[in-house]
């Protein structure tokens, strides 16, 4: 459907969020590998950002702040961010996902030290001793604050997805992971997130995950779609097969 030339003509509408889903996916995939278009895209994103300044002056009701602070008081208590890490570590959060059959990989993951987490937060591609890799995903504008990682075993035959900050969807919709190779998208998992906006699952795919160049997560009808149809929420490059 698309050729492999630059996507300059699509970038203005991409910055406005007005492309159809398949066009937007094509642009995102192209931007991963083309710095020329990425620079041009950044320029249009800057323009789009400034459009928000062109709104008429308006003020909400004076009591809105009181309503906010009241809502904060009655909201489910949150854990401060520093305490949150201690509350449930990533290996602990991964355990239900993988199950006993994957315990070896989890132990390998747990063997990472503190620097691993620091490096992950810096969005580096991390390879553990033994060859297991953790690849960070980037959130789109629709879910700023969401994070995710694809974990791939050394031989590429086993993998898992872990996401945080993706809000739970209504009963009619689920998240779907897409594995991308040569412009073709293959479903790798259909999943939901819990009330803490957290989710994790094993990636099921024929062959090796090392054969895929990128991943994306979209919102789809419950049960998943044959091809992506909904809004993309997370994505990122995988390997160079």
């Amino acid at each position: 459907m698309f050729d492999e030339t630059h996507v300059s003509d699509l970038l203005p509408a991409y910055a406005l969020g007005s492309l159809d889903a398949d066009e937007a996916s094509h642009v995102e995939e192209h931007l991963l590998s083309c710095w020329i278009c990425r620079n041009e895209s950044n320029a249009f994103q800057t323009v789009a950002e400034q459009l928000s300044l062109a709104t008429p002056a308006a003020s909400p009701s004076p009591d809105l702040k009181d309503r906010l602070l009241q809502r904060v008081q009655t909201a489910r208590p949150q854990q401060p961010v520093l305490a949150q890490a201690a509350r449930r570590s990533w290996p602990e959060r991964l355990l239900p996902v993988w199950g006993l059959a994957s315990l070896g990989l989890i132990i390998a993951l747990a063997a990472f030290n503190l620097s691993l987490w620091q490096r992950l937060n810096q969005l580096e591609f991390v390879t553990a001793p033994g060859g297991m890799r953790a690849i960070p995903l980037s959130a789109t504008d629709d879910v700023s604050g969401a994070t995710g990682f694809v974990l791939v075993a050394a031989d590429g035959r086993n993998g898992a997805l872990v996401v945080d900050g993706l809000p739970p969807l209504d009963a009619d919709r689920q998240y779907q992971l897409w594995l991308i190779r040569d412009g073709q998208r293959t479903s790798g998992a259909v999943f939901s997130t819990d009330e803490e906006s957290y989710g994790g699952m094993r990636i099921k795919v024929a062959g090796s995950l090392l054969e895929y160049s990128a991943v994306g997560i979209t919102i789809e009808p419950a049960g998943g779609s044959p091809q992506p149809t909904g809004v993309k929420v997370l994505g990122g490059p995988l390997f160079n097969p």
């Binding site: 509408a13 991963l32 249009f44 800057t46 300044l53 002056a57």
Partner: protein, 211 residues
Amino acid sequence: MTSSADYARYDDERLISLIAQLQAGALDQLYDRYHRPIFSLALMIVGDRATAEEITLDVFMRVWQKAGSYRADQARVSTWLTHIARHHAIDVLRRRAVRLDQSALSWDEITPGAPLPAQNPGELAEQSLRRERIHAAIARLPADQKQALMLAYFGGYTQTQIAEALKQPLGTIKTRLRLAMQKLRDFLHDEQEPGDKSAQAVNTYNMSEED
């Protein structure tokens, strides 16, 4: 104990880090700084005050619950808040499944907007300048390009939806949006002072998102 006067002295990033530690006084201060532009943007998109107020509350509640995920190296706080507000408001609009009303939005009705928060006179002057620039740039666009731009940015509509609503060929709408954005980019680039921090911040944000 931190007083409201202390919070007022902190910059935005410091407030976010304190909100992540569940200090409601920091959220109170951030609300004072940003509730008007957020409400204005939400109102522009959804069109009624009650819903815009709910969106404003949701934005600040999200900040309260997700402040720990904010990354200063990716975007300024104002940029982060604007992203959350715009996408949440457009999501509300989509859930309503209302038919696209091309007459509901018009650049011509827009007057220079609500003053953004500023921590010092220099910043206030810079913000005023940026607002004047974008208004001047939009004013130069032909009416049909302004209309398409308005529906795309504030309406959250795709090019296909805009073409159907305006009963125009899809290619025509694509051309209008492309030309409008190119003209705005060129105009704002020409007007932009060297070393404009705001543009740099947004560029950094987008680079980080895509890398």
